[in-house]
Each structure stands twice: as C-alpha cells, then as structure tokens.
C-alpha cells in the first residue's frame, strides 16, 4: 500500500517576490545615487588636508623663518638655493646669523635644518606631506617667497610669506 503525505508547503507568490524586489530595487537606486554624488564631490574637492596633519606645523615654522629673514643665501652647508631647497638667513635669539635650510627634495617630506656658518646645528623632519616647492616673489618693495605644495595633481598649498624687513633677493 502506498501512503501519500499531503503537505501544505508553499513558497512566496509572484506578487510577494515582486513587491520585495521592487522595494529592494528602490533602495539600491538610492544607494547608487548617494555614492555617485559623493564621488562627484570628492573629485571636485580632491585635496584632503586631513591626510596631511603636519602641513600646518611646516607652514607655521616656515612663516616665522621667512618673517625673520634678513637675506636669502645662495649656498649653505652643501645645499644650494633652488626650487626644492629654500635657504633663509635669520637672526638667532643670541644675535648671531642662523641659516635655515628647508629641503623639499624627498617627496612627502620636509627637512628643516639650521646652520651656524656651514655647521649643521639641528634637523627637524616632517613626513606624510604633499610635494613642496617654492619660488621667489617680489612685490616691488620686498622679496618674499611663494610656497606651493601638490597633493597628487591638485594644488593643496599656495602661501606667500614676506620678511618683516627688506631682505636681499
């Protein structure tokens, strides 16, 4: 004798699945819209300063050094003035002339070295930075510096500093 078990199993109806899929589809659409808008915004504002927390420390030190600059030596301690090396002569707190060398040659790093004569006294290194360079800026009365830094292809820093007194170019 063959017994036949009767079950009341049933899956979802087509209507149920359609409604659930429709809701999920709307939801996915919203997610895609939001993420694409975020990406558009990121492209518009590609510079991420939060990735470079040391920038403000570098800029603050550079601002003070240029502000105190009396002239810009061409060469100090084996470093030559160039777009990747900024040399300023400042007056040290004891009255002597101290040369400060900002070395941007290592990408992502800024080395600040101080010299008395040609003898290095200190070195301070900031890492995790955009790529720096500088150029002289003459407003007619003063020779200042324009510091630029690029975060990838984007201009992240563009700052001009002038010394408080007229410095030699």
């Amino acid at each position: 004798m063959v017994t036949r078990e009767r079950t009341t199993e049933r899956g979802f109806t087509l209507l149920e699945i359609s409604v659930a899929m429709a809701i999920f589809g709307i939801f996915l659409y919203i997610i895609v819209m939001l993420t694409s808008e975020m990406k558009r915004n990121e492209k518009k504002y590609p510079v991420n300063f939060m990735e470079h927390p040391q920038v403000s420390a570098v800029m603050a030190r550079m601002r003070r050094d240029v502000f105190d600059a009396s002239y810009y030596p061409q060469e100090v301690g084996g470093f030559d003035q160039s777009g990747q090396v900024l040399i300023v002569a400042t007056i040290h707190k004891d009255g002597t002339i101290e040369s400060v060398v900002y070395d941007f040659k290592t990408p992502g790093e800024v080395h600040r070295r101080t010299f008395l004569g040609n003898v290095q006294q200190t070195e301070w290194i900031a890492r995790g930075l955009p790529v720096f360079n500088w150029s002289p800026l003459d407003d007619g009365a003063h020779v200042g510096v324009e510091i630029k830094a690029y975060d990838g292809p984007s201009l992240a820093i563009d700052q001009i500093f002038f010394p408080r007194a007229k410095a030699a170019g």
């Binding site: 919203i30 991420n48 009365a141 003063h142 201009l155 820093i157 700052q159 002038f162 007229k166």
Partner: protein, 132 residues
C-alpha cells in the same frame, strides 16, 4: 501531516523596513562626514587665500588704503580657491580714527555665498611709507 510555511509578505516588508532604516542611517552619517570634511577643506583653502591677501595688504602704504574708495583683492592668482567656485571676494576698509585703518578681507562661496571666511588686519599710520 507536516505543515510548513515561508515568511509572509508582512514579515518580509518589516524586515526590509528595519534593514532600510539601518542602511539609510549609515549612509546619512557617512554623507555627513564627507560633507564636514569637504567644508573643513574649503575653509583651509579660503584662509590660505585670505592669508596671502593679508600679506599683500601689510605692505602697501597706509595712505593707499583709502576708506572712501571701493577696494578689491590685490592677488592675481586665485588657483588655490578654484575648488570653491563660484566665489566672491570683498574688501572693506574702516577708519576708527586718523591713525588706524582696519582692512577686512572676505571670501564667500557655496549655496549662493552662504559660506564665508573673513580675515581682518589693522594698519596704523606710523608716519613712514608702511609698517616696515
């Protein structure tokens, strides 16, 4: 007799509702974070431009800062604030007394100029050509 059944439509909808609330909240928080980071970056860019402008205004002679005339930014290079476009710049000069002139530099951008960064410098008449 074994009676098995799947989830009802109500159960599925309720589960989807909870899921959507969780995901929407996450996306909203993520979006807020992105927006705040973007706004912080914008302020940094704006203050760089203002700082450069202030540096230029420190060097001009006291007499050339005329509170009766309409003044504009002296910078010619605005590449640093290009991501803020469209933006507007403004200079206001106040003269609280004969020997002092306050220069207020302003950049407005975003949502019809609702966002604003402002920097003021005080110039005093030292009798010379300029402060230096």
């Amino acid at each position: 007799m074994r009676r098995q059944r799947g989830f009802s439509l109500i159960e599925i909808l309720f589960a989807l509702l909870i899921l959507s609330i969780v995901i929407t909240t996450t996306i909203y928080m993520f979006g807020q974070r992105q927006r705040r980071m973007r706004e912080a970056n914008e302020v940094i860019l704006a203050y760089q431009a203002l700082s450069n402008e202030a540096e230029l205004w420190r060097h001009v002679s006291f007499d050339s800062i005329d509170p009766t005339k309409e003044m504009s930014f002296k910078s010619t290079d605005f590449a640093i604030i290009a991501p803020l476009q469209p933006y507007a710049t403004a200079v206001r000069v106040d003269q609280p007394n004969d020997k002092v002139r306050n220069v207020t530099l302003t950049i407005r951008w975003g949502d019809g100029g609702k966002r604003e960064a402002r920097l003021s410098i005080i110039r005093t008449n030292t009798g010379g050509g300029n402060l230096w």
